[in-house]
Symmetry: C2
Subunit: 332 residues, 2 copies
C-alpha cells in the first residue's frame, strides 16, 4: 500500500480512501491512485483489513448430504449469492454421523476463522435441535428451519409444494392419492408427508398408500414394483401418486412401465424438485419446482440483514407446480 501511495504521490491514507470509495477524494487523485494500483497489480491485504475492521468477509457454510440434489444446489446458490455480495465462502462438510460433537467442532472452527455469519444446510431435524442448544456469537441462518429465537430460518414452503401437487391431482378428479416419501429423518420428507395428509384431509379424504423411499431412483423402482404387486392396473390402491422427489419418480415410472401400468393412463404421477432431466423423462414429469438457488440467495440476504442488525425473520421460498405429461384425470 505504501508503494502504491508513493507511485501515486499521495499518502497511504488517500489510497485507503480510494479503496473504500470515501466521498472526499478529488477525481484527479482518485484516478492517479487507481492507475498506480493497476500498474503495480496491488491487492489489499485481507488479513490486515480484517484485523482492524473485525470482519472477515467470510461466511461459513455447514453442510451435509452434499451428494444430494437439494443440498448441492443450495450450496451453489449460497456460494453465488455470497460471491455477489462480496463475501468468501468457507465450507465445513459433515459426514453421515451428524452428532452434536461434530457440529460443535465445525462451528468452533468457524469461530476460530472469524466468519461473519453461518449458513447451515443440513436437512436432518436433529441438527436444528443441536443448534438450538448452542450459542453462536454470529448470525446464523438454517435452511429448512422455520424462524426461531436462536437463528433465522429460510425454507422452501414444503407445505405449499405438497399442497400444489395434491390439489392438482384432486382437481383432475383423483380421490385415491398415494405418497412415496423420502427418508423419515429428513425435514423435507416429513413436511411433504404432512402436506399430503393435510391436503387430503382438507378435501375430506383419508390417506391412501404411504411408502418410504431413500430419494434414489432405485428405491422408487422398488416402491413402484411393490405397488404394482400382482394386481392388474385397474385395481391399484391409488389412481395417483405424489412422489417426494424426481429421482424416485424416475424409478416409479420405470417400474410401472415394466408392470404394464400406463402413466398417466392408469396412474398419474407428480414428482418434486424439477431436476434438469425431469422434462426428458418418458413421459415428461409433472413436478414441483424448488428454487434452490433462490433459497441460497435468501440465506445470504437474511445474513446480510442480520449484519445490519435487523431482527430475526424467517424467509420462505414458494415452490411452483410444473405440469407436464404424467398427470391426467383418472381412468374411471
Amino acid at each position: 500500500m505504501a508503494d502504491v501511495a508513493k507511485a501515486a504521490g499521495v499518502s497511504h491514507q488517500t489510497v485507503s480512501r480510494v479503496l473504500n470509495a470515501h466521498p472526499n477524494v478529488s477525481p484527479a487523485t482518485k484516478e492517479q491512485v487507481e492507475k498506480a494500483i493497476a500498474d503495480l497489480g496491488y491487492r489489499r491485504n485481507t488479513a490486515a483489513r480484517s484485523l482492524v475492521t473485525r470482519q472477515s468477509q467470510t461466511i461459513g457454510v455447514l453442510a451435509s448430504e452434499l451428494t444430494q440434489y437439494g443440498p448441492a444446489n443450495t450450496l451453489l446458490g449460497v456460494e453465488q449469492a455470497a460471491r455477489e455480495a462480496g463475501y468468501f465462502v468457507s465450507i465445513a462438510a459433515l459426514r453421515t454421523e451428524v452428532s452434536a460433537a461434530t457440529i460443535n467442532d465445525a462451528l468452533g472452527r468457524f469461530m476460530d476463522q472469524g466468519v461473519d455469519g453461518v449458513v447451515v444446510v443440513v436437512p436432518h431435524p436433529g441438527t436444528l435441535d443441536v443448534l438450538r442448544g448452542l450459542s453462536v456469537d454470529v448470525p446464523l441462518v438454517a435452511v429448512g428451519a422455520s424462524g426461531d429465537e436462536w437463528f433465522k430460518g429460510v425454507a422452501v414452503d414444503q407445505h405449499q409444494g405438497g399442497r400444489l401437487a395434491v390439489e392438482h391431482l384432486l382437481e383432475l378428479g383423483h380421490r385415491r392419492i398415494g405418497h412415496l416419501s423420502g427418508p423419515a429423518d429428513w425435514i423435507d420428507a416429513t413436511s411433504r408427508i404432512e402436506a399430503w395428509r393435510d391436503a387430503l384431509a382438507a378435501a375430506g379424504l383419508g390417506e391412501s398408500v404411504l411408502m418410504e423411499g431413500d430419494w434414489s431412483a432405485e428405491s422408487g423402482y422398488r416402491a413402484g414394483l411393490r405397488l404394482a404387486g400382482r394386481r392388474p392396473a385397474g385395481e391399484l390402491d391409488c389412481t395417483a401418486l405424489f412422489v417426494a422427489n424426481d429421482q424416485m419418480a424416475l424409478g416409479v415410472l420405470r417400474a410401472f412401465y415394466e408392470a404394464g401400468i400406463s402413466v398417466p393412463g392408469d396412474v398419474s404421477i407428480v414428482g418434486y424438485d424439477d431436476q434438469p432431466d425431469a422434462p426428458y423423462l418418458i413421459p415428461p414429469l409433472t413436478t414441483v419446482t424448488q428454487h434452490f438457488e433462490e433459497l441460497g440467495r435468501r440465506c445470504i440476504n437474511a445474513l446480510l440483514e442480520a449484519f445490519e442488525g435487523a431482527g430475526v425473520r424467517a424467509g420462505v421460498v414458494e415452490p411452483e407446480l410444473v405440469v407436464r405429461s404424467t398427470t391426467a384425470p383418472p381412468a374411471g
Copy 2:
C-alpha cells in the same frame, strides 16, 4: 491474549509460545496458560496471525459439476483432509460456462483472500488449458491432470481403471467388448475410452461398439435400448460392455431387463465408480472403485508438500476392480 497472559501471570509472548507449541516452555507455566485459555474461552485471532505469518491457513477449492458423484466426493475428501491438516477450505463454484474469465475471476478472489494454495476440481480439459496460461503465485493442484510445469496434478489412474475392467472381461473370454462412455468434454470420459481402446489393441482386438452417454441413468437406459435394438440377445454387437459410470450401468441394466437380455448370461457389464448402491443393483454390479476421498487427501498432501518447497510431482491414485455379479464368461 493480554487477558490470558494476565490471568496466567505471564507475558503475552509466553501465551503465544504455548499456542504454537514452542519447545522452551516449562510444563508448569504451560499448564497455567492452558487453564487460563480454557477459563476465558480465548480464541486466537486468525486475522492478526495471518497478518504476521503471511499464511491464511486457507485452501481455495475451485470446483464445477458439484452435483456429480465424482466431483462432489472429491470435494468431500479435500475438505476432510484439509480440516485434518488444520486448514480452512474456501470454495468457488463454477457454473456450467467455464470460461477463462470465470476462472480468472475465481482465482483472483482466492488471491484477494490470500489463500495458501488452490485445488482445482474441474473435470473439463479446457480448464487445464486456461490454467496453464495463467500464473498463480501460490501452489496449485489440479485433479485429473497429469503433472505439469505449472502445477501439480493428482489423478485417479483412469488408464489403469479402464484396463482392469477390460482385462477382466478378456480373461473371462469375451472378444467383442463395447464401451458406453461419458461426455467427450470430460477428461475422465476420454481417458477411459483410450484405456478401453488400448486394452483391446493389446489383446489384438479391434473396437466393438462405442456409444456416448451423459453420465445419467437415463442416458444409460437409452443406450441400452439402442444396443438391444430389435435383435435377439444372441446377436448383439458385443458380449460385454464396459460402462463409464455406475449410473449409466444402472440404466443399461434396466434396458436389458426390459429387452429380455440377461446379465451376465447374455451380456457382461462392468461399471465404474463403485457408487454406494452398486452392490444393491440387480444383479450386484461389477465395477471399478475410485477412491475419491483418497484423491482429495492426495491433493492436500501435494499442496502441503508444495508448501514445504517440494518440487512438482504428480500423484496417482490406483483404482481397483470390484467383481460382483454382472460379469461371467460369454454364452457361446
